[in-house]
Amino acid sequence: MTIVDPKTERPDQADLDKAAGRPEDADQWTAKIRNTAVEALPPQKLLPDRQPAYVASWIYVFGVTTIAALVVVIGTGLVLSIFGPNWWHVSSTGLFVNSLHLWSVEIFMFAMVVHLWGKFFMAAWRGKRKATWITGVVSFLVSVGAAFTGYLSQQNFDSQWISTQAKDGINSTGAGAIFNVTNFGQMIMWHIVLLPLCIVAIVGIHVLMVRLRGVVTPFPAKGETPGGDAEAGATSGAEVQA
């Protein structure tokens, strides 16, 4: 039994506890959560360096493209929030960052739609992956709301036009009582606080679900007997491709 950690040259507390007959207190809620999390998503599964062979296709690139665009969207949004509308409408740097924010959103929505089409035609909800599919759908819907409130937060004639055009549609649903598209203060708070928090949380769950269940397996070829990973509901396919 190793009592001294060779790296730190200090006694390892877990070893000391075992030697002293003090087992880990598995009843602690922190230990329960930690053990459950590590068991479900060990580090090599959370950040894998191998993927199934069938993932070697460009159609699998659009999910990570969406996340990369989201990182740029949030980064540029943070910069815009520091300096405000006078800066992003007037200064050349502000206009540049404003454009980066807009075009990263365009890439975000573009890549997300292609990702959605790809997953739809793969029936990516197979094999206990319904939660992965549903969180993807919800993140898409919330993203539409975030983009919409972003257009309302531009502080220009375009945002005025969009809000006055949208109000009748929103009011006809009854939602206008609590969601007033002509209320700039409310719209910008939804845009920079509520909806980004929702998107990051849902996308985070979505990615964890992908890591937990693995990428959906392809449909069986003609003549091939079904019953692969997707049908059996196993976690992830054979990881053979570097």
Binding site: A53, I59, V61, F110, V114, G118
Partner: protein, 63 residues
Amino acid sequence: MSSAAIVLGTLFGSLIDLNKPGNYIHWGFIQMSYGNLLVILLMVIVFFAAILIPFRSHKGGER
């Protein structure tokens, strides 16, 4: 403005001019700007290209 920006602006501007009222297509009850139609067509093209174009893995395409 730099000459490169002018050239690029002219090239892209000749494709879609966003500095004027948008042009819309009307298919029955469907009304859509040419800009939005272009984005949808691009998504369709990229979708099929992603399926058809071979993906080179780290091992030079070996699987």
